[in-house]
Structures are given as C-alpha cells and as structure tokens.
C-alpha cells in the first residue's frame, strides 16, 4: 500500500472555494422564503435629542406596507436586555431595540417598517415623520470629560461609563530611578470594520412547531441562539440560528444585535418570514465601529536603553450604548502593554466614555493593536532620544527565551516565546544594514526615506471561560463532534463558526490524517445551531487554537474506540494494536483491519464488542487553560514626497511565529489580509463624526478603504515556537497582521521625517497630515 500523504502542515486548496468562485454560495440575503416580507428602519437624524412625535400614518397608507412599529409597541413584548460585558463600577445602561424617548446617535433605529418588498419598505421608512427635539451632542471623548459638558445620560453625574485603575507603586519608584522618560499622547482613531457583506437577517417563525429560525450574518450563531432564547422566553430547542455563508466579520459580527431580536419578534408577530439586509450607509452608521482610543503614555528608561516602567491613561470611546464587549476592550490594551519587553512595572488607568456616536466593539485585534501601537511608539521614542537603533533597543529589552512561561507586570502569562528568531529572520530578509546604508545615502540627497520596525505579541485563543457571565449562557470553550459513517466517511462539526478563515479545509486535513481517509471523505459542518448544538464562535484568533483542539479531542476519542473495536475483532488487546495510516495492525503480526472496516463493524455490530456501545462518534469541548501569545517582527520602508506629503510604501517584511500550522496557505492568507487591514487604518481609514455628531463617512465614497494599488508585495516568513497550551501547539493568527502593521508603518514615516524634526504624528497618515507636520516642524515653511 502506498504511503498516504500527510495533509497537516501542507498547503491544501480550500474546500470552501468551489461554491464561492462559481457564485453558488448562499449568504443570508440570498435566501428567499415563501411569503417573505422586508423590514426597513427609520433612523435618528440627530445625535442627541428627545423624540417628540412619531407619525406613521402616511407610511401605513402606502400600498404594500404591513406594519410600522416603534418602542411603544415593544414594551413588555420581550425581555429587553441582550447580554453585554459590564464591570461592577460601570454606569450601565440597557441598549434599546428601538429608541425609546431619547435618541443618542445618528442612525439609531427609531421605528421599523415592514412591507412587501424592500423598495416599498424603504419608501415607507421615508414616509414616517419623526419629530426630535435636538439637544447638544457629545462627540469628542476629551471634551466629554470637561465640566459643564452635556451628558449622554442625564441620570449619571458625567460621561464616564467606567474607570478601571491598576496602580502599581513600583511604577512610581522606577520613574524616580529612571535616567529619562518619554511622554506621548497617541490617538488610535475610530475605524469601521466594513465586512464586504453588510449585516443581514432573516427570521422565520413557524406557528406549527412553535419554532423560530433565524438566518443571520454572524460570527457567533450560538450566542445569538442563547440571547434570543433568553429574551423571547423560548426553550433553546425552539430557536435555530443559522450563520450561512458569512461575508467577513472582523469583530463587527461577534455580538448579538438588537435587530436580531427585533426581526425574530416581527416574524412571530406578523406570522411572516421577515428579512432585513442593511445598506452600506446603514452599515457605517449602525454596525459597530472599532478602536476609538486616546492614550497618554509615559515610560521610564535607563541610559542603557532598558525601558523599566510604563504609565498609561487610556480614554476609550464606548459610543452611546455599550455593545457586547465595547466597554471592556481596553482592558486588553492594559493587559498586553508590556509587549515583548521585560518592563518591570506598569500602571494603567482606563476611562471608558459615553459619546453620542455608534457603539465601538471588537475590531480585528480588539485592544491588542492599541497596546502594540503604544508600546512600539514608546520604544521608537526612547530609541530616538538615546540615538540608538530601534531594532537593537527592542532586542535588549526582549524577554529572554528561557523565561517562559513569563508573567508580565500586568498579569498576562505568555505561554512560549523566542523573540530573536523572527527578528533575526526579518532583518535578514530585509537586509536591514544595507537598507540603513541606503537610507543614509538617500537622506544625504535630501530624500525622506524611513524604516519602521514593530516587534509585538498578542493575546490569542480566547478563553478561558473564567470571565464568562451566567447571563451569557456559554463559556469560552469550543465544541466539536465527529460522526463516522459506516463507510469510514465522516462528518466533523465545529462550534467555531468560520466566515472566510478556511476551517472547513483545516479541520478536514486533521480528520483525514487521523484516520488515513481521503480528505473528500470528510465533511465539516458549522454555523447551524440545530446541527451543532453548542458552540461559541470564531473571534479572538481562536478558530484553530480552541476550535481545532476540540476537533483534535473528538478525533482522539474516535481513535481510542476504533482501536478497542479492532482489538476485539482481531482477537487481541488494544495494547497490541498499532494504528497507522488508516490501518489497525496487530503488533508483530500480519493481521490487520482498515479504518472503513472498523467503521462498518461499529455500525453493523453483528459481532458485538463487550462493554461497548455500537457506533463510532464522539463529542468534545475544549476549555483552554490560558491564552496563547504568538509574536512577530515586521519591517517596512517608506519614502515620502516632500512636495505632497504622499507616502510610497516600498517594502514590507513580516516574520511571524504562530506556533504549529495546519495549512500554511490559510495562515499566509490571514497575514496578508491582516497586514493590509492594519495599514488601512494607519494610512487611510477613519470614521469621522462632525461636532454635531453627524457621520461624514457614511458611504464608501467617503470612508477610505484600502485598495490593491496602494500596497507593495508583502514578503512573509515564519518561525515556529509551539504553544504548550494545546495539543496542536497552535498560537493563533487571525489578528496578528493588523496588530503589527500600524506601529510598523507609523514608525517608518516618523523615521523618514526625522531629519525635518518631526517627532510625532497621528494616524491616519494622509498626505495633508504629513504635509502639515512637515510644515509645522519647519516653523510654518513648507
């Protein structure tokens, strides 16, 4: 028998792709049900105010309109509050499904119209007259803290949602003993996730079985099921949530949205399937945003270059209503602040602030890009002050490779690391010394060439479940189920709900290898809560680390049982059974059975196995013992046009250590995409509200998305330091690129501008900002 190729670790083409490249995949808005009607929302035009009157009579008179509902119609109809993370000191509020009395951001849903088709529904939404007594809006976080500023919530003394202080007295001592300090004010501005598929929901209440089915473009179908069941008072078995094909998430689809509850209610109320697919403008107005931090950071250093202590005050913009994790994301920023460095003490203060804007939520990286940006900008500032090479400064501050597991002063426990490996490889690929020499020559010619470096880590593989709240009705484990068919073919079910990451392929590679079957014999199912009963979802770079480990556990259980069956049928003990490449062989003998033969025997059971049940299936849940910490070095080079301030990004090298890899092609895809997403924030993207809280970036004509021609070819390599926290040795990769890209490119731009005396600039680095910085640094001369 030919040796079967091992698939794990190989570049295997995606099994998701044939349906996607032929236009045959089914996204939520592609589904059409008999009798289906369409919902459209009437939205607040004002950022703050009182609703004086809502008149829907004209809308209701329009042919094709079934109903218009406002907050008044919803009172007492369902348990209102969807779960969100809160802290004991939080000024907590209950986000309404439809604005009730007050409006608190532009785009907030005020009424919902249901009509026969979406054109009529949108016409009718415009017919609804909403009179709002507008009041002054609070938009800027720092202004929101000033005394006398209007309040987003009158019941609270100020606009502070909550404040989390972690003061370490050691920090003050180290600042006193320091040879010097650096101080920065950094803005990590608000951006929009812009998954290419906007949100879409289709709800179907079936009166016969008394059952709700909700198709929704989500990263977390089980969380949606849990919350709908809780809010509507339906048993879990009466709620089926399906995340069909999902066109990207990036964090904006990891929460349970009020519209999901509302559509479910509408379908039950009207006894019709009801669909809503948001427009891109609605998506930019009313799907969660990311980032939105202002950070004041101070660092103490020794003249050797050792950074000893950091103090951070982080202002984080919650928006008008706390979304699922929105109010607590900055705790990740504080937790990760040490980066890759042996910083001895860190003190942090997080101030979460309400403003009259859309809620912020996790966005690819969620708190970790902010942390990396802060500490990398600090490293660059210290290096510049000490006139040290920024690479060597980082190297001398690295946590040494024999220090793992390593506990940072903020309480994070890094699982494993060897930070010089990716650094050295990246320097080699970049030819760093040559690049610095070329830079010196360019500078001598008056050209503005800069090199940026970011060495960073992140928190991956979320859980564990210790932080989970009972109202959440789930932990942060992940589930898997494997069912082997009589032929040896099998179905692998995962509670992770991939939406582009490629787990259908990666998990099939694992299963095929485990039993020596062809990969086409494995089907991976996900995203339907009636198929996969329990699950958590895909976010926080956990798909493989947590979801994949659950699959591994289920596969191992099958192997164990198959061995016991084979042992009985081969008339030996399981200790004597060797299972390799799909064959069970008796040690030292010629007798053997193939995996399909064992699978068939398990189902037919005509030779009963004492002490065993028929069949061959297994369920597993993996509870991660801790989070994983991949790490990386990114290097890039830019040249800036003195006349226009335009940045030419010339080179980008990324060497990442994500532990063991199942499919390097998928891993690289995550990294290319993540890097460009991070560069998008650093160079182009920004959600912009004016002083009155009007959104000025409400279409993709205004919101600057990264496009193909803006970037050079990115060079990738990997080093491999497995995580000891899961049997796969995987560390997670989904968010990595996004985390490193912003500090890397901003560092390069500041390096380029250094000869002009520019020491600070805030993202996004649009040409006018660069041009103004150059001009200001030269005393107003351009």
């Amino acid at each position: 028998m030919a040796v079967k190729p091992v698939l794990v670790g190989e570049r295997i083409k995606r099994r998701e792709d044939p349906r996607l490249i032929r236009g045959l995949a089914t996204y939520t808005d592609d589904i059409k049900l008999h009798g289906m009607v369409q919902a459209a929302f009437v939205r607040s035009q004002y950022a703050a105010g009182r609703i004086v009157k809502i008149d829907a009579s004209r809308a209701l008179a329009r042919p094709g309109v079934l109903a218009v509902f406002t907050a008044a119609d919803l009172r007492g109809q369902f348990r209102h509050m969807l779960w969100h993370a809160a802290t004991p000191t939080m000024h907590d509020v209950e986000p309404p499904v439809l604005a009730d009395g007050a409006v608190r951001y532009v785009g907030q849903p005020v009424a919902v119209v249901v009509a026969a088709d979406r054109y009529v529904a949108r016409d009718a939404a415009l017919d609804v007259e909403v009179e709002i007594d507008a009041t002054p809006a609070v938009v800027d976080m720092e202004k929101a803290l000033e005394p006398g500023t209007p309040r987003v919530y009158e019941q609270f003394p100020d606009n502070v949602c909550h404040r989390i202080v972690n003061d370490n007295p050691e920090t003050d001592k180290l600042f006193k003993e320091a040879d010097g300090t650096v101080k920065l004010r950094l803005v990590n501005h608000r951006v929009a996730p812009v998954s290419m598929e906007p949100r879409a929901i289709l709800a179907q209440w079936e009166e016969g079985p008394q059952k709700l089915t909700l198709w929704t473009s989500t990263q977390v179908p089980h969380a949606v099921k849990n919350q709908l069941s809780r809010c509507l008072g339906l048993s879990q078995s009466k709620v089926r949530v399906i995340a069909p094909e999902v066109g990207g998430g990036f964090g904006c689809k990891l929460l349970v949205y009020p519209e999901e509850l509302l559509l479910a209610w509408l379908s039950r109320k009207l006894r019709r399937p009801v669909k809503w697919a948001e427009t891109r403008t609605e998506n930019l107005l009313n799907t969660t945003h990311g980032r939105g931090h202002v950070e004041y950071v101070e660092a103490a250093y020794k003249k050797t270059g050792e950074v000893t202590a950091v103090r951070l005050k982080c202002l984080t913009d919650v928006g008008a209503y706390p979304s699922q994790f929105g109010a607590v994301i900055a705790t990740f920023t504080a937790l990760l602040l040490a980066g890759l460095y042996r910083i001895r003490a860190i003190s942090t203060e997080i101030v979460a602030i309400y403003t009259n804007t859309m809620a912020t939520e996790a966005y690819r990286g969620a708190g970790r890009p902010e942390a990396a940006y802060i500490i990398e900008r600090v490293m660059d500032a210290v290096a510049a002050t000490l006139k040290m090479d920024p690479v060597e400064l980082r190297r001398l501050n690295f946590i040494p490779k024999d220090a793992f597991p390593y506990q940072t002063p903020t309480g994070a426990t890094y699982d494993s690391g060897d930070y010089e490996k990716p650094l050295d490889r990246a320097l080699e690929m970049f030819d760093y010394q040559a690049a610095r020499r070329a830079q010196a020559e360019a500078r001598a010619q008056g050209r503005l060439v800069g090199i940026g470096v970011a060495t960073f880590t992140e928190i991956c593989g979320l859980g564990p479940s210790t932080g989970s709240a009972p109202d959440q009705r789930q932990g942060s484990w992940e589930s898997a189920e494997v069912r082997v068919e009589p032929t040896g073919a099998m179905v692998v079910m995962t509670g992770a709900s991939p939406h582009g990451q490629g787990q259908e392929t990666a998990f099939a590679q694992m299963a095929a290898d485990a039993f020596g079957v062809d990969i086409d014999e494995v089907v991976v199912l996900h995203g339907d809560t009636d198929v996969v009963t329990h699950g958590v979802g895909t976010f926080g770079s956990r798909g493989l680390v947590v979801g994949g480990t659950a699959v591994r556990m289920a596969l191992d259980k099958i192997t164990a049982k198959a061995k016991r069956i084979a042992a009985h049928l081969l008339d030996t003990t399981q200790e004597q059974i060797v299972f390799r490449e799909g064959e069970f062989t008796v040690s030292g003998g010629a007798r053997k059975m193939t995996f399909p033969e064992v699978a068939l025997a398990a189902h037919v059971w005509n030779v009963p196995i004492p002490g065993e049940e028929p069949g061959l299936e297994a369920v597993a849940r993996f509870e991660p013992p801790g989070t994983t910490f991949p790490f990386a070095t990114h290097l890039c080079q830019v040249e800036i046009d003195r006349e226009t301030g335009e940045i030419a990004l010339q080179r980008y090298v990324s060497v990442d250590d994500v532990g063991n890899v199942i499919n390097p092609m998928l891993v690289d895809g995550q990294r290319y995409g993540g890097i460009v997403q991070g560069l998008g924030q650093a160079l182009y993207e920004q959600v912009y509200y004016d002083e009155e809280g009007q959104l000025l970036t409400g279409t993709l004509m205004d919101y600057a998305m990264p496009k193909a021609h803006m970037f050079p070819r990115i060079d990738l390599d990997r080093t491999c330091t497995p995580s000891p926290l899961n049997p796969l040795g995987a560390k997670g990769v989904g968010e990595l690129g996004t985390i490193g890209a912003a500090p890397c490119v901003v560092g390069a731009v500041l390096d380029a501008l250094q000869p002009l005396g520019v020491t600070h600039i805030d993202m996004p680095l649009r040409p006018e900002r660069i041009w103004n910085a150059m001009r200001a640094a030269q005393g107003g001369r351009s």
């Binding site: 598929e197 066109g247 895809g669 193909a708 990115i714």
Partner: protein
C-alpha cells in the same frame, strides 16, 4: 416595463418596475444570487457583471437600461457547469479569496482585465482592480490568482 435581456446566454423576458436596479433584477427576479451588493455606490465592485462583454457595476444601473443587452454573471462565466473559467481556477489555486463575498465581482472585473491585456504586469493588475474592494485577502493573492489565470489562458489550457 417589459424587458428582454439575455442573461448567461438565455433570453429572459420580464415585466419589472422602471426603478429596479440591475443587481436586484439578477438577484431577485432571476435568482442569480452570485452577484452581490456591497456598497450601492459603485465603489466596491461586488456587483460587477458583464454587459455586452464589458465589466459594469450592476448596483448603479437600472435593469431597464439592460433591455436588449447581453449580460454575463459569475454563474455564466465558465464554459459549462462542470468546468471552471481560468480565473476561477486561479482564485482557487492561489487562495485569492477568503469570505468570498467580493469574489464574483472581482473575478468578473479580472476577466475584462485579461481580455484587454492577456499578460498584465503586477502594477497593471493592482490598478486594474482598484474598483473592487476585498477586505480579507490584502489583494496579494488576488494578484497571484490573476497571474495564474493569465498563464493558463496564454498557454491555451
């Protein structure tokens, strides 16, 4: 209004409202849901189809404007139901897609790109697809996919 539009080689007659967008006609009237809607403002390109062989963003065209024209959507790009167009092969081989939402529109744009220039440089590919936004891939593997397809097409495979 009555229209007769040839879609993927098949003549389709419909009576549709004059304001119906071409993308809605394809998706809702004909059930060709491979063409997606990503922005409604001609920026993202997810809705790209071919009208008489030229790439057009169908979210800002009225269906009635396509009366008498020939439309090709992603469902009709391959020569038959079993085969793949070289671009579909290229995207699959080179991991040129992740969530897949932009992919049909991206492929339709790239098809015109390769029709206009069978051997485009990387720069030309990047500029050629700047009217199509992908949030997942960072574009590099899309560039590779187009190059892959161009090789297949040049070699006449």
């Amino acid at each position: 209004m009555k229209v007769a539009i040839t879609v993927n080689g098949e003549r389709r007659e419909s009576d549709i409202p004059p304001r119906m967008l071409l993308v809605h006609y394809l998706r809702e009237e004909l059930g060709l849901t491979g063409t997606h809607i990503g922005c409604e403002t001609t920026i993202c390109g997810a809705c790209t189809v071919h009208v008489n062989g030229r790439a057009v963003k169908s979210c800002t065209v009225f269906a009635v404007q396509a009366d008498g024209q020939e439309i090709t959507t992603i469902e009709g790009l391959a020569p038959n139901a079993e085969a793949l167009h070289p671009l579909q092969t290229g995207f699959w081989e080179e991991h040129g897609l992740q969530c897949g939402y932009c992919t049909p529109g991206m492929i339709m744009t790239c098809a015109q790109l390769l029709a206009d220039d069978p051997n485009p440089s990387e720069e030309k590919i990047r500029i050629g697809i700047e009217g199509n936004i992908c949030r997942c891939t960072g574009y590099q593997q899309i560039v590779n996919a187009v190059q892959h397809a161009a090789r297949i097409m040049r070699e006449g495979r």
